[in-house]
């Protein structure tokens, strides 16, 4: 497929792992590596099947997970003396996840402070602009989107191999235009409504890629009414500058 959506603007492997931990209601401290590894690899497969450009960091993490998994399967006496001396990679991963999660929490708190600050008006010298509409939505992550999409793909559509999409019966460009039109006509488009328009899996994939591309271009954003709730797609109002 000619259209490669780059993932670097989205989240990284640690985000995916935290997403899986949350989704399975697990504790980071006793995360079942074998189970998580399988799920992690399924996401990578899905991303590959969609021909998304996967950042190298995702593959490095996959290797780390598989290393931990195989090490846990081996009886401890089979480890070489060097391996025994190395820091336990599972503990190291848990430490990184806990550390990263704490910063994510800090970022959320900062996000809240930013929101409060936005409605305090002070003496001039602030750049012009219009206010963000304050809505009770959580910004959905790429993995929320992938989860919703894979659930949809397991649904009732005629079974077809994802690989056959290459024949561009539906182009991503065309779906980009569709999405632009829909988000202009309506304040918000629900995920189900959007994908309900797809008659085949090929078409659904094209819509999904168009969605990712428009997110990357910051034309639209995806929100969830609550954690793991339904995903809605909204157009970013042009006069609101969203950074980075």
């Amino acid at each position: 497929m000619s259209y490669k959506v780059k993932l670097e603007i989205f989240e990284g492997p640690l985000d995916l792992l935290l997403h899986l931990v949350k989704q399975n209601h697990l504790e980071i401290a006793n995360i079942p590596i074998a189970q998580i590894t399988d799920q992690y690899l399924k996401y990578l497969e899905l991303m590959q099947a969609l021909d998304l450009e996967i950042a190298g960091e995702f593959l490095v993490m996959a290797a780390t997970l598989m290393q931990i998994k195989s090490r846990q399967l081996l009886p401890p006496e089979t480890l070489t003396p060097e391996e025994k001396e190395e820091p336990d990679p599972a503990q190291e991963l848990i430490r990184r996840l806990l550390e990263y999660q704490r910063f994510k929490q800090a970022a959320e708190v900062l996000g809240g402070m930013e929101k409060t600050r936005l409605v305090q008006f002070s003496r001039p010298t602030r750049p012009d602009g219009t206010p963000e509409q304050v809505e009770e939505f959580v910004e959905a992550s790429l993995f929320d989107l992938l989860t919703a999409f894979s659930q949809f793909m397991q649904g009732e559509l005629p079974r077809e191999l994802i690989h056959e999409i290459v024949k561009d019966e539906f182009t991503v460009e065309e779906k980009i235009n569709l999405l632009r039109r829909l988000t202009q006509e309506q304040d918000r488009v629900s995920f189900a409504e959007l994908f309900g328009k797809a008659k085949t899996k090929m078409e659904a994939v094209a819509i999904f890629l168009a969605l990712l591309e428009l997110i990357r271009l910051k034309e639209i954003s995806i929100r969830q009414s609550q954690l793991f709730g339904e995903i809605v797609i909204m157009r970013n109002t042009g006069d609101l500058e969203v950074a980075g």
Binding site: E11, R96, A106, A107, G111, R117, D128, G244
Partner: protein, 193 residues
């Protein structure tokens, strides 16, 4: 000059200043030999006075200084008169990167990437353009990589008094600061358990 006199001057300075009245600036105006700690104390007293009188304009300590600002509850009215408002809301990757830098500064790009697990080059560019981070020096190791730190605009953006005013990571770790609760936002608070 007694305290009351100084406060009258500070009140005037707050009114005419560009945005934030820096403690340092205010000290200079009040005259040589004025202790910045005293300036801060006086401004805090003034702020308390405003709060006690239940005025709708508040004096708030922010970004190494003090400013007048309006009650957030009145935002919708203020916006009818003026559309002037801080226009940037940061995305999640930007907020996360900024949080890491804020707590661990000074940091090199590689060190930030080790925590986030992804490339942060693009995000650093954006944060630099927004003047939320700056280059604070170079690390004396191989390649002398650039060290990043936060700016005064960073404090202003989040309404922080200074860096010590950041929520403590220990509290976050202990779950004392609920992760889903956004300050002044009662609806999302219900989701924490």
């Amino acid at each position: 000059m007694n305290d009351e006199e100084a406060k009258r001057i500070l009140e005037a300075l707050l009114l005419v200043t560009d945005k934030t009245l820096l403690i340092e600036q205010a000290g200079e105006v009040l005259g040589a030999g004025v202790d910045p700690a005293d300036v801060r104390r006086l401004l805090n007293e003034l702020a308390q006075q405003y709060a006690q009188e239940n005025r709708r304009i508040r004096i708030q300590e922010v970004a190494e200084g003090f400013e007048y600002n309006t009650d957030p509850e009145l935002a919708s009215y203020v916006l009818k008169l003026t559309r002037r408002v801080r226009s940037v809301r940061l995305t999640k990757p930007s907020l996360e990167t900024l949080a890491i830098i804020a707590y661990r500064q000074p940091m090199t790009r590689i060190e930030i990437e080790q925590v986030r697990g992804v490339d942060v080059g693009g995000v650093l560019d954006t944060l630099g353009k927004l003047n939320l981070i700056r280059v604070v020096g170079r690390k004396e190791t191989v390649g002398r990589p650039i060290l990043y730190g936060t700016t005064r605009d960073f404090l202003d953006h989040f309404g922080l008094k200074n860096l010590e005013d950041l929520p403590s990571l220990e509290e976050l770790k202990a779950g004392l600061v609920p992760t889903l609760e956004i300050p002044n936002d009662s609806q999302t608070a219900a989701q924490t358990d």
